[in-house]
Amino acid sequence: MTVPALPTDWSTQQLAEFLAAVSTACDPAQAGQRGVERAAEAFEAEIGFLVSDGDVVASVGFPAGEVPLDLLLGLPGDAEVELDGLGGCRTMAAHIEARAGRLVVARSGDEPFGIEQQNLLRGMARVLDLTVGMLERQILLERLSKIQRSISHRAPLQEVLDAITTGAVELLGADLSGLRVVDPDDPTQMIVVSSAGVPDHILDQVRRQTVGEGAGGRAIAQDRLIVVSDYARDPRATKPFAEEKLQAAMAAPVHEDGVAVGSLVVGSYRANRVFSDSEQSALLALAEHASLALTDARTVEEMREAQRSRDMFLAMVSHELKTPLTVIMGVLKTLELRGGELAAELSQELIGSGYERGRELEMLIDKLLRGARAELAGTVEPAYLPRLVRSALRGFDRTRTVSVAAIPDLTLHVDRGAVTQVIEALVENAVSHSPMASEIRIRTGYEDGVVTIDVDNEGDLPPDVSINDLFAPFRRGSGTRTPGVGLGLYIASRVAETMEGSIDVRSGAGRVVFSLRFPASVAAPAAESSRAG
């Protein structure tokens, strides 16, 4: 049996026990409390307390709620003092430089603390300092990794930012914290995007501030850590905070792509509050995470935007492909079934129409192959209105009765592709939402430089659907008979917008009318040539 070498002297033994007790603490507060208790136990002292950054952070030996803070803060390190209820006491203190603090014990009676005891207390103070430092770092790391996790799990940005400001208050023992970012619409201004511990009446006053003002504004303007002690007397302090007697503040810049776009600020009302080096590092680390969160959120938003437009692009492209294909398939089916019965002229026309749609498909596929995004808006060129309308209706009038009212005899400057697309979409919609045997009526007008094309079908609008809903993507009416993804009206309205036009809908007396309106100027000479052609 091997017996480990035993520490036989009392001090070593006590220090080992002290280390064992404080190192198992879960947080700095508990380590501090255990530290003062174990120190008092070791010296058989009645009183023990720990001062850190000018404040008593742990104490033992006083009735609950009756810790005489001023007395303790003023208690000399090595002295004989009279304490209430204890009589004459001897005190002993060990300083903790890094925290502007000290560990103090007071023992009743007049037995002085010997040199061995003083050394032991110094050792305990050192152990306590290291342990508390370790726990603080550990808590900071835990907090940061929690924030990192929420960033990587794509938690809502506000949630992440709130976790940072709350974390700043808790980790730094501050009273308030705020995160500001520069207003994208006005770079001279900054806006509070998250705060913790800031009362509402102050928040209202500081919600918008000029960059450069206050600790937070300076951190952005100078792109560095700003530490302010004696805040209330700082001439550049933010007034509402100064009026509330804020004692100390510090602010760290928050970056996006390396540029200071905001700042994370903490403040304390406690007298003589000094932010230690480790607290300054902690704030910088938190600000760094705010930077991460902001940069990441923007990237995510861009990705989502890209994703959205890609999905939309695909949906629109497939719709574009499908519509002409439907017509082509219809033509071929008619020819297959009734080819022999059809007059040669009619057959020719059907084939011509199918061919035209095939050309459109070819052009569209060409466009795709060239890698062009579906630029819906094309070029404006002269077009003969009657032909434009009739060519857009071609194919539909084979499957349904389409009556076309007189079309103004005009040649206009228009985006032919766009007009065709909208008419097709509206007619397709009419076909989908009206009885097979019913008539679809087309009326075209031109007045004060505005073209109006009405597509009128039998039916009714669903009662609970707003006009906005009708034009939203991926919406399909309940009675829809034809397959599709519900993009037709959406595309039509988007395309109409590219012509600076609009689509309205109205219903009544068992009919629904969609009206396309768009401005177009008359190009008479070209009309003639077009007509001639």
Binding site: M1, T2, V3, P4, L6, P7, T8, W10, Q13, A16, E17, L19, A20, A21, E37, A40, E41, A42, F43, E44, A45, E46, I47, G48, V60, G61, F62, P63, A64, E66, L83, D84, G85, L86, R107, S108, G109
Partner: protein, 388 residues
């Protein structure tokens, strides 16, 4: 002054619980205006009945109490009995509290039970008397919790309830309630001094051993070996102690561990039980990891000398005033050393020293006394509270 204060002690060994409660209380109520009733009784009684009898006679004066491993009265030690102490008169004020669920929140329960102190009328002399469940866990944590409430100005005194060494469950009594896993406490204020004496009379023997792994009040390894093996081997314990739980507890009573202290008497840790599976030792209070422990020994002389010293210390603290009564918290382990005759002599000695003032008390699983310093939990110790 003393006409404003009185202390009375009554005992009954009646088998009927209600009757026993009434008899003991009648003897204890020496005067009017009872401020506090303190009950020490065998857990073999029907405790609700016992309390009903006591409260009927006391008129419902605030009551704290506990089950024991033997009761002490002026006439000597006994078992299967009830001892009632009553204090009263305008010279005393009392606030009582109870905290339950102690094993899950040792420190908080100590603080909660001590909470009556906050409301205690300001008197020149004060003490917090605590009765705890010694099987709930690290008792020093309970004491720390109470110390955090009352601070260094107020002494703590008391003991851990017993269950006749069955080590299964103990009861704490509060007014008409029978509690388990609880801490009950009375904050007592008096116009006259309250004296506390503490001694154990045990000595360290042999070389120290190092606690290489412990957690709260369990010791897992000593000198890097399973604690139970190291302990039994060092003591060359009889065979049955290695395997039988009851035999182990009896053996461990007189073979406690001692903890190093700065000076004066070392702290003693009573080993309540052993886990034969994981080879650990269960103590009544924390044995710090990395701490040094010694095996301790005591004999009748050293233990009785401690009795004299503890009593004298308590009486001296009365600053010349005559004691009205004394309460003894006497570790059951001392009984193991003294034997039946020895404990008769011990109580006789206490009664002699208090000069005819009534004596009450019980055999405990741990003792509480904090007058100086901060450590207030003891084992194998006699704690005496003298009331003037």
């Amino acid at each position: 002054m003393s006409e404003d204060r009185w202390v009375g002690v009554g005992r009954s060994a009646a088998t009927d619980a209600r009757l026993a409660g009434k008899e003991a209380t009648d003897d204890a109520l020496k005067g009017p205006d009872a401020k506090l009733v303190i009950v020490f009784c065998s857990s073999s009684y029907d405790l609700p009945e016992l309390l009903a009898g006591i409260n009927e006679r006391s008129g419902g004066a605030p009551l704290i109490g506990c089950s024991t491993a033997g009761e002490i009265a002026t006439s000597g030690p006994a078992e299967s009995s009830v001892v009632v102490t009553a204090i009263g008169g305008s010279g005393f004020s009392v606030r009582t509290r109870a905290a339950t669920g102690a094993s899950q929140r040792l420190r908080e329960s100590g603080a909660e039970a001590a909470g009556g102190f906050v409301e205690l009328e300001d008197r020149p002399h004060r003490v917090l008397l605590m009765l705890t469940d010694g099987l709930a866990g690290d008792q020093q944590e309970i004491v720390r919790g109470a110390y955090g409430v009352v601070g260094a100005q107020v002494p703590l005194v008391g003991g851990c309830a017993g269950d006749d060494l069955k080590m299964v469950s103990t009861q704490q009594l509060f007014n008409d309630q029978v509690l388990e896993d609880a801490v009950v406490a009375a904050a007592i204020g008096s116009d006259a001094p309250l004296g506390i004496g503490v001694r154990h009379g045990w000595r360290k023997v042999g070389e120290p051993m190092l606690v290489t792994r412990s957690s709260d009040n369990r010791v897992y390894t000593i000198d890097d070996r399973p604690a139970l093996d190291a302990y039994l081997e060092r003591l060359d314990a009889p065979e049955e102690v290695h395997t039988d739980a009851a035999a182990f507890t009896r053996f461990a009573l007189t073979h406690p561990l001692g903890l190093s202290g700065r000076g004066g008497e070392a702290h003693v840790r009573f080993i309540g039980e052993a886990d034969f599976e994981d080879r650990s030792l269960g103590c009544i209070a924390e044995v710090p990891q990395s701490g040094m422990v010694w095996l301790m020994e005591g004999d009748e002389d050293s233990v009785l000398d401690a009795t004299t010293a503890a009593c004298s210390e308590a009486l001296e603290a009365l600053a010349g005033e005559q004691p009205l009564g004394a309460i003894a918290f006497d570790c059951i382990a001392r009984r193991g050393v003294l034997g039946d005759e020895g404990i008769e002599r011990e109580i006789g000695r206490i009664a002699e020293l208090t000069g005819g003032a009534p004596v009450a008390g019980f055999y405990t699983y741990g003792e509480i006394a904090r007058t100086r310093g901060i450590s207030g939990f003891h084992n194998q110790t006699l704690v005496v509270l003298a009331v003037a």
